[in-house]
Symmetry: C3
């Protein structure tokens, strides 16, 4: 089963909790057991699993990446968004979630985040469930 | 097939080779071919595949992360463990191992490491085998 | 289905676009729908999905990693290639590609890169397709 969701980002760097949307797709798929791939077809955005209980955690991760990979460095890529490509490479373009009893087997604090590094833009996320 | 293992960590940052335990679970599962997901349900720990022949490699990786993501920075998350969340985001919460002839198809130097970044704690790892 | 490809790298750090070779293996496998694991059995190399349209992007990512993880630091691992192990740990040893209509469902700018961090060497990449 393959599905797609659309995300409108509003800032240059923005880590958005998409766990409820992923959870609904997994529930609709109706497989009791399996694994779920959440995949970004973009090269300046990423997928991450980390804490959703306190939104400050995602902000700290985004802020750290902005400091560690600065805008003003000399880059070869003339579009000027190489820092966003580096951040996407470090975080990774996909995550996998185990499914048990028809639900995502995320840890109690875990959420799935779409990580925008070159926004604002309209983005797509591909979700594939393997039973 | 889904299994869980428990790990007791003893330091704040500790990269623990869990390859023998994962290898036993794969052998017990009895599938000749497939892939194996090793997943951390925690947000301040990660899974990594890297060299197990010389334990100094895992120490170097842990030391590098401690230097690159310092404790004393101002973080928004009040619990104070944001560096551990950043390290987990960079390394990633899961790894996949191909299975061939009923055994993990790891490279000759490769091992699977549970990466504790906010220990000591008792941790769980979820193992799902897809035939 | 499991396949292997061989890659000869020519520099110490080199990010090589292997998308055409992966695309051919997926076409040969003949599965309309599925997911494809691309796995490096090495500990000083990695797999990454990022922009292939402008080769300068991969160069920028490689250059950033060389600067961020310097050669001259004191490392415990006596072989002296710990920076390559750190880079491999950060980028990750595998990527997954969704398959739809018998083709890799990569984004329009995306390519699959083999990331050499301790070359030149002859390297292997394992490709497993799960229908």
């Amino acid at each position: 089963m393959i599905r797609e969701i659309t995300i409108s980002t509003r800032k240059q760097t923005e880590l958005i909790d998409i766990s409820p949307r992923i959870g609904r797709l997994i529930a609709e798929a109706g497989f009791a057991e399996g694994v779920c791939l959440v995949y970004s077809p973009h090269t300046t955005a990423a997928l991450m699993i980390n804490e959703r209980a306190d939104p400050a955690v995602a902000r700290d991760i985004g802020d750290f990446l902005e400091e560690a990979i600065p805008e003003r460095r000399d880059w070869a890529h003339v579009e000027g968004n190489s820092p966003a490509h580096v951040k996407a490479a470090l975080i990774g373009e996909s995550v996998w979630i185990p499914i048990a009893d028809g639900r995502p087997l995320l840890g109690i604090w875990q959420g799935v985040f779409f990580c925008e590094f070159d926004g604002p833009r309209t983005r797509r996320v591909v979700v594939r469930i393997v039973p």
